[in-house]
Symmetry: C2
Subunit: 334 residues, 2 copies
């Protein structure tokens, strides 16, 4: 006997990244992620390998959780997949992902066939933002903008409890708004994108430039003089350890990020801005100057109703949000 919709208990969330695949079961009514597992994507081994790996991870996670709860696979409603884009949500196709080397790849249906469950597909950055909205920092808000600072700067926009996709599923590319129209060339082809100033590699590059120009910093010692080894994480750590130079680099990062956040606040007037990614480990070294910069830049009546907060689900926001997308598309309400 197949249980009805009301008896379904979990949705599987899949967070497919260029480096890792993360899978877990999210309770339909919200709650902690169960059966969480991570494996490397190993995309060099080909698309079929990646699809098989995802399918195995989904199957294993379901088996583990249903056994522990003394129930059956029928308690799982389906699978939400978050993938790098651009993608076509309607057809479930990944149009193009340089990181994985895929083109017009029917990811959703391949997974659905392999695991024999209905699937949805959405953009990874959208899913991370939606996860924070559903069960993380944004619980209870209606309107939220998410910035995810990593190798790039991903973004997502939640309006009235739904991911805003725009007319061709590209909306939310807030890392590619121009904050300096004659600025650094970006991989996307544009100039002066926020991503060129506040992403992980941009933070590391700015830190190294300063040291090469003679700035003194703990950073040099931390990487045994090998400046190529400086990453954004080294910079946060040095800032947290009290290194004045690293603190200065984080302040500068906060200023660039603040220009982008203020623009989003003036444009969308959201209730909340959620900042995700390793950079939030810098804590007040990031948030204090960030909030000050936004105060200096954004319209007062817009900033007064907007909280700027760190993400609460590091590591699982993508899985939670991918499952949330499945829920929204299949159940209508959250």
């Amino acid at each position: 006997m197949t249980p009805g919709k009301a008896e379904k208990r979990w949705i599987v969330g899949v967070d497919l990244g260029g480096t890792n695949i993360v899978v877990g079961l999210v309770p339909i009514e919200g709650g902690d992620v169960l059966g969480l597992r991570t494996l490397p994507t190993d995309s060099v081994r080909g698309a079929k390998f990646v699809v098989d790996r995802i399918a195995h991870m989904v199957t294993d996670a379901i088996a583990e959780v249903v056994a522990a709860h003394d129930t059956t696979r029928d308690a799982v409603a389906g699978v939400g997949i978050g993938s790098p884009g651009p993608l076509n949500r309607k057809t479930g196709t990944v149009i193009n992902t340089p990181n994985l080397g895929w083109r017009n790849f029917p990811l959703r249906d391949l997974i659905a066939n392999a695991v024999k469950l209905p699937c949805t597909l959405d953009n990874d950055a959208n899913c991370a933002t939606y996860g924070e909205w559903w069960l993380g920092a944004g619980r209870g808000t209606k309107t939220l903008v998410g910035f995810t600072l990593g190798t790039g700067i991903g973004g997502g926009i939640v309006l009235n409890g739904e991911i805003y996709h725009g007319c061709s599923d590209v909306a939310g590319e807030i890392g590619h708004m121009t904050i300096d129209s004659n600025g650094r060339k970006c991989k996307c082809g544009n100039y002066g994108c926020l991503e060129q100033y506040a992403s992980g590699p941009a933070i590391a590059a700015r830190a190294v430039e300063g040291i090469e120009a003679g700035a003194e910093s703990l950073l040099e010692e931390m990487v045994d003089g090998k400046l190529d080894d400086v990453t954004a994480a080294t910079v946060y750590e040095a800032a947290v350890m009290g290194d004045p130079y690293a603190t200065e680099v984080m302040k500068e990062t906060a200023k660039f990020l603040g220009a982008g956040v203020a623009s989003m606040i003036n444009i969308l007037n959201p209730e909340m801005v959620v900042i995700a990614g390793g950079v939030t480990r810098a804590g007040d070294h990031l948030f204090t100057p960030l909030i000050a910069e936004v105060r200096r830049r954004a319209f007062r009546s817009a900033q007064e109703c907007c909280r700027i907060v760190p993400a609460e689900l590091p590591g699982t926001a993508g899985v939670v949000g991918a499952a949330g997308v499945f829920k929204k598309e299949n159940y209508g309400s959250m």
Copy 2:
């Protein structure tokens, strides 16, 4: 006998600006504006004067149109008012308009009492964008971003056929997105706002700076050597007349504006961007370099589904959109 909702034929639109008040009757089912009239705002004569002037203009416009159509005042459903902001739509209050010198001014209810008709209040730039969406360049689209280039740069965002207001009615301030984080100080307190590079005064200022630095141009002759008299309009006219320097200034304007438009396309992925204001009189001198700049900057899959077009209702978009807001709020559908 009062006619029912179905027998109402017109909505009055009021476009209140710092310089002029424009009033007209818009057919509920769409069509040409009737009884259109314009008078100076004369805000120095005080708020009561302005309210009385609006009320008289509304009453006169209604009288003229109903007489011409052999009907009665009962055929008018109500009045939509567009006003400079920020404002509180719920209470119908203008929070603060430096141009008119008002603070917490209950504009909507004062007009409603004076003309004995229900009224709605929304931001002037939102109304102009909504007018273009309803009966202008944006007819038939779902998602649209409007840029109005004038003394400042106003903006509006229409999502799924509704003005997007954000959580405190501030959304759509796209003239105040930062396109140069270390750039020119803006009146709003921010730095490097788009408005500082592509508004009317910014265009005129850039043109004058170049002439003072030695550039040769028809412009000097057009203002009899009085460079203070150069306005954005003089610059468009000189460009249309073939002046190479003015054409260069318009190209530069298009580049700045293109950075802002591309950011909005990457963020909101709209079906259309509508450019309004006198600047559109420059025609291809603006739109050809603007579209080229956006192509250079925005994500291909976002720009491919987005048309960038001039507004079609110069002079009446604000009136049409203000009436459209009344219709949307009272009738639900458009």
